[in-house]
């Protein structure tokens, strides 16, 4: 709605306009960036123009009122900015790009309601190209597809803003210098490259899941949703969405008011997000209906879904969870999966069986220095009524745990042994 300039704005309108800019930017960022990259081949230009369009919207909308079609407004503002820059460059290449931008973004603006699926998919695959270092893939995906700025990326990964912008800069340089094409990979590479995109998105989620602030988890969910929308038949993408929904459903109960970690068995299950759990179930069922054998994300989603579906900690279907871990250990063998399987066996068969399984896992290489191994041992020893041995294991876990909230949690457990 556009306001009549003579009428006073309703109170609170400026905040509403700023929210509208944020919403439109979040939903349109990836598609505007992606089409600018496709038509100009210039990642820096695309990034600057979208940023500029959002800043213009922040300056104009609170004064002029919301445009009738906010998405088209933002797209046009970014395109006009790109054309200005290209005209000023005045080179042959720039002129060709200018024609392409005009034609392409005009088409895009005409159907602003309709997503330009292919461009956004190209963007995700290119940001997650295996020739880029992993931390650059993460930063580039958050910046170019998610619209996060360097300050937000720096904050989320506990790095300085200059490190974050260096990562982005180097990634964009490599794309240009090494000839990384803006495209969806060839059919015979699609499965492995899709796995690469999913791995980056899961990494983003996990980075956010470990902290009380939920920005990265929300962003990862949004990007996985986008991927599912663009590749509806990709069962592992849908399975990852289900997994993230199950995990996100418990988010609010994972930390107490003091920011301390609450273990799953003590979480207030009444506050788990039922809507997210229901959607997770539905997405998981749809992923399974592909008829393909379950991949690693479907198995992890099945495990998270069993936790989410248990009415109480005692009701947890540990037998079913162990079965999933057995399959996961085949699909994606790793020491961490083996450790989690051992823990699940301990809950299914009792702490003594759990300790025996942990011994087997500890004998294999790969978990040296990993705090969850002594933490799991401590937990089973505590449940078995062996507080002295548990204390030794808790102290080892506290020494190894990298995150402050994990150390605090283990320390509290250690202290509770004495009472």
């Amino acid at each position: 709605m556009t306001f009549d300039q003579r009428q006073p704005r309703p109170p609170g309108f400026e905040d509403e306009a700023r929210l509208a800019v944020a919403d439109t930017a979040a939903s349109q960022w990836a598609s505007i960036t992606a089409s600018l990259i496709r038509f100009t081949g210039d990642w820096d230009l695309a990034e600057d123009c979208v940023q500029d369009a959002v800043e213009r919207a922040l300056a104009r909308w609170p004064i002029d009122g919301l445009p009738d079609n906010p998405a088209a407004w933002l797209t046009t503002a970014a395109r006009n900015r790109a054309l200005d820059v290209l005209r000023r460059r005045q080179t042959e290449r720039a002129k060709m790009a200018e024609v392409a931008v005009m034609a392409g973004l005009e088409r895009a603006a005409d159907r602003a309601e309709q997503p330009i699926d292919d461009d956004r998919l190209r963007l995700l695959f290119t940001c997650c190209h295996p020739a880029l270092p992993v931390e650059s893939r993460v930063a580039l995906t958050l910046r170019m597809a998610g619209g996060l700025d360097t300050r937000q990326i720096a904050k989320a990964f506990l790095i300085s803003e200059s490190t974050a912008s260096q990562r982005l800069l180097r990634a964009k340089r490599k794309i240009s210098h090494a000839g990384i094409a803006f495209r969806v990979p060839a059919e015979h590479r699609l499965a492995e490259r899709t796995g690469g995109v999913l791995a980056v998105l899961y990494l983003i989620f996990n980075e956010g899941y470990g902290s009380p602030d939920g920005e990265l988890t929300r962003e990862a969910l949004r990007l996985v949703r986008l991927l599912v929308e663009l590749m509806p038949d990709e069962d592992e993408a849908r399975a990852l969405l289900a997994l993230l929904l199950f995990l996100q459903a418990r988010r609010a109960t994972r930390f107490d008011a003091a920011g301390d970690l609450v273990p799953m068995e003590e979480q207030d299950r009444g506050r788990w997000d039922r809507t997210a759990i229901d959607e997770g179930r539905w997405q998981l069922r749809r992923a399974a209906s592909s008829g393909r054998p379950p991949g690693p994300y479907r198995l992890q989603a099945a495990i998270a879904g069993r936790h989410a579906g248990a009415e109480s900690a005692e009701d947890t279907d540990w037998a079913g969870i162990v079965t999933c871990y057995d399959a996961l250990l085949v699909a994606q063998p790793s020491p961490v999966v083996a450790l989690n399987r051992a823990i699940a066996i301990g809950f299914r068969d009792g702490p003594e069986a759990g300790l025996a399984e942990l011994d087997l896992v500890a004998a294999a290489p790969g978990l040296d220095g990993y705090y969850l191994l002594p933490a799991a041992r401590a937990d089973f020893l505590r449940r078995q009524g062996r507080p002295d041995e548990a204390a030794v294991a808790y102290r080892a876990a506290v020494r190894l745990a990298p995150a402050e909230h994990d150390r605090r949690f283990l320390q509290r457990r250690l202290e509770s042994l004495r009472s």
């Binding site: 020739a131 210098h177 090494a178 000839g179 990384i180 094409a181 495209r183 990979p185 060839a186 590479r189």
Partner: protein
Amino acid sequence: MRYLMFVANDPDGEQLPENTTPDWVADVDARGKRLIGDRLRPAADATTVRVRKGELLVTDGPFIESKDWIAGFDVLECDDLDEAIEIASRHPMARAGRLELRPFWPFDQE
């Protein structure tokens, strides 16, 4: 895009029963994707050249001592990195050793 592909040995690589490099060369040449390439004599036959303070220094051996050494090279002409990766992945040394793709950096480009 032009890429220099270094073909390097790797002690951890797979042992191949026979060297099928000529088949790879024939295939890539037939598609016009290879400008030049060859096998190289081992590091023991290398000579390193430097001029320091006007004085020519010629020494025996490669300038980087390493357990994997460059055994050959190819110059590839490809549309983009993905195509170069595809071509490299079919080289027998992708399994027996490792390949490094370095884009050309023409002097008229930034």
